[in-house]
Symmetry: C2
Subunit: 359 residues, 2 copies
């Protein structure tokens, strides 16, 4: 779920205005950005001309990372000379739209490339479930709204869109195993890439202390709209059943599992972990302006850029755009008819690598 | 004009088999690859864990650089330990298809990522007419079939597709100025990015000692086909006249101009310069097998991937694909009717940065 900035931009939502929606929502980014800036103040830095390296894992279009990275760079710049190069590497899967990413990096008002002349940007189009950046080279790492996407769909979910709301024990177990394995791998490879004393800040979906994954009003609206589309014969029962979203929330202990029992893993340790609730900013705005239509449209546009493409991908290519339009309309109408605050459980994890390498 | 490998692959050409065509043609890459491997043997290397950095300027899909970079890496690896990281950075304009590049890097049989475990790939989607990689960080740099593309079209060419064949003195002067400025800028920014003692190998289109830019049979076939399309009212006269290809060949002295009169510029000097004729491998194959249809189809497919998109871009989007198909058919037929060797003047330039930084 790419998002960008914690700045509230109260312009009205237009169709396809996903970027505006994601900028406005930006749940949890402020808290994680603070942790990231604190890390920037404390990590050891290489000597010039060796660049300071910042990695952004699962960058998508860059909208989740421009502001946090810009703030970290401002902190780093106070610790080093103006000409000391800072190299930011944004990673995502090969099919990511890197042209969009580079256009954002060059044109967005928030881009660090405009704010600091000794900053440079690069991209890596490879899955982060492997080592993709040179060993011991990353001084500061960021990953927001990405690591809840599993590396693969472990099994179909027969009774729901999301494993978090499935009542099938075997399905839940298969997903939990995949989520545990993916987190273990993600952390292990970052352990190789981080430089001694380097830190990684992860912000991702979580399961809160009530055992809740959240997003219930959105999921109900989607499920209900899919049923309507089946009823109108715009979708078959089989097509609807085959749709699922391979994301998993994790509980606080899940984040710690790779580090048990010693507290260290691949020379890494957890420096900070918190599970919290992100603000539903669409709800906050609705509470002020009472515009239910805008509330529904905003969440619907947000989902158009995040969950809906995954659902549409199971359909033949020529039906996807129409399907997404119908889904947006149906979800927006349902949310507007009964606005309700969306619970957004999130985790922020700060992982630190040992300062000295042991041979 | 992206190309990839000097390996001759004698499979038949299919429609849209541009990659196969470019792999087979690969004019000049062998010579430049040798210069690149020699440079890899001689450039100073950073100490581990600082990665050895290779830059590939104007990478397109990577097909012009996989084999040369793979050979350079093999040379570098003999000079350093197996675990010393090598980071390759491929640059191109933001609109380049980076997903295609990363798929090539992950899947191509020639990819260096499969041959050496301590190699890593990244991309930069920014124009190289600016500094886009950290200062003093590039140990070895490559640019093939890219720097003849001008940064902008300085003026329309009323009488020909290519400035090299225009008889309009003002147009020729405007292009020469732009080509000189672009080369000056390209070299200057690489001067900042190269590390002390680092080397840049450039292979690009040239004007030979006869003053010839080459490619005459191809240009005649294209010009003739465009006239046919105008005659058949598939293209207007104005549309045909508006088409041009903003590339410029350079003479040997043009490459030296930024370094005059002292021989150094931005701490750089020209270590090697040669202008030579690349082999027309489609012609060599035709001389063996006598298959004129394949000769025509091979060059036509090659142009489909290189020059034709530039011509088509001046038309409305819905007419481009059909236009390119007609152009391919017409050019293939004309070349097959009268096969002739294509002259391919090329330059290889090796530029070296001073070993020590002067303050």
């Amino acid at each position: 779920m790419p998002e960008s900035s914690a700045v509230v931009r109260p312009e009205p939502m237009h169709s396809a205005s996903y970027t505006a929606a994601s900028r406005l929502q930006a749940a949890g980014l402020r808290r994680a950005t603070t942790l990231f800036a604190e890390s920037a103040a404390e990590v050891p830095l290489p000597q010039s001309p060796r660049p300071i390296v910042i990695a952004d894992y699962g960058a998508a279009t860059g909208h989740n990372s421009l502001v946090p990275i810009g703030e970290a760079i401002a902190v780093l710049r106070k610790r080093t000379r103006p000409e000391h190069s800072i190299l930011v590497t944004h990673t995502d899967v090969p099919d990511n739209d890197f042209s969009d990413l580079f256009r954002t990096l060059s044109e967005d008002p928030d881009t660090y490339l405009k704010k600091d002349k000794a900053c440079f940007a690069s991209a890596v189009g490879r899955s982060y479930y492997g080592q993709i950046i040179p060993s011991n080279s990353v001084n500061l790492a960021w990953s927001a709204w990405s690591t809840h996407w599993l590396s693969r769909t472990p099994t179909p979910i027969p009774d729901h869109l999301l494993v978090a709301h499935s009542r099938d024990g075997e399905v839940r177990t298969a997903y939990e195993r995949q989520a545990a394995r993916d987190w273990h791998e993600f952390v292990a490879f970052r352990g190789r890439e981080l430089s001694p004393g380097g830190r990684l800040v992860v912000m991702t979906m979580a399961i809160d202390s009530d055992g809740d994954f959240g997003y219930r009003p959105l999921l109900d609206a989607i499920t209900d709209t899919l049923a309507e589309l089946v009823g109108r014969e715009m979708l078959t029962d089989d097509e609807s059943s085959a749709m699922s979203i391979p994301i998993a929330g994790r509980r606080a202990p899940d984040f710690l599992a790779p580090f048990a029992p010693s507290g260290t893993f691949e020379k890494l340790s957890v420096q900070h972990l918190e599970v919290f609730h992100g603000d539903d900013r669409f709800w906050s705005r609705y509470r002020v302006d009472g515009k239910a239509d805008q509330f529904g449209a905003a969440w619907s546009e947000f989902l158009r850029g995040t969950a809906f493409p995954t659902l549409a991908a199971t359909l033949p290519a020529d039906r996807r755009a129409g399907f997404v339009d119908h889904l947006c309309t149906g979800v927006a109408a349902r949310l507007a008819a009964a606005p309700a605050e969306v619970r957004i459980p999130l985790a922020a994890v700060v992982i630190e690598k040992q300062r000295r390498l042991h041979h």
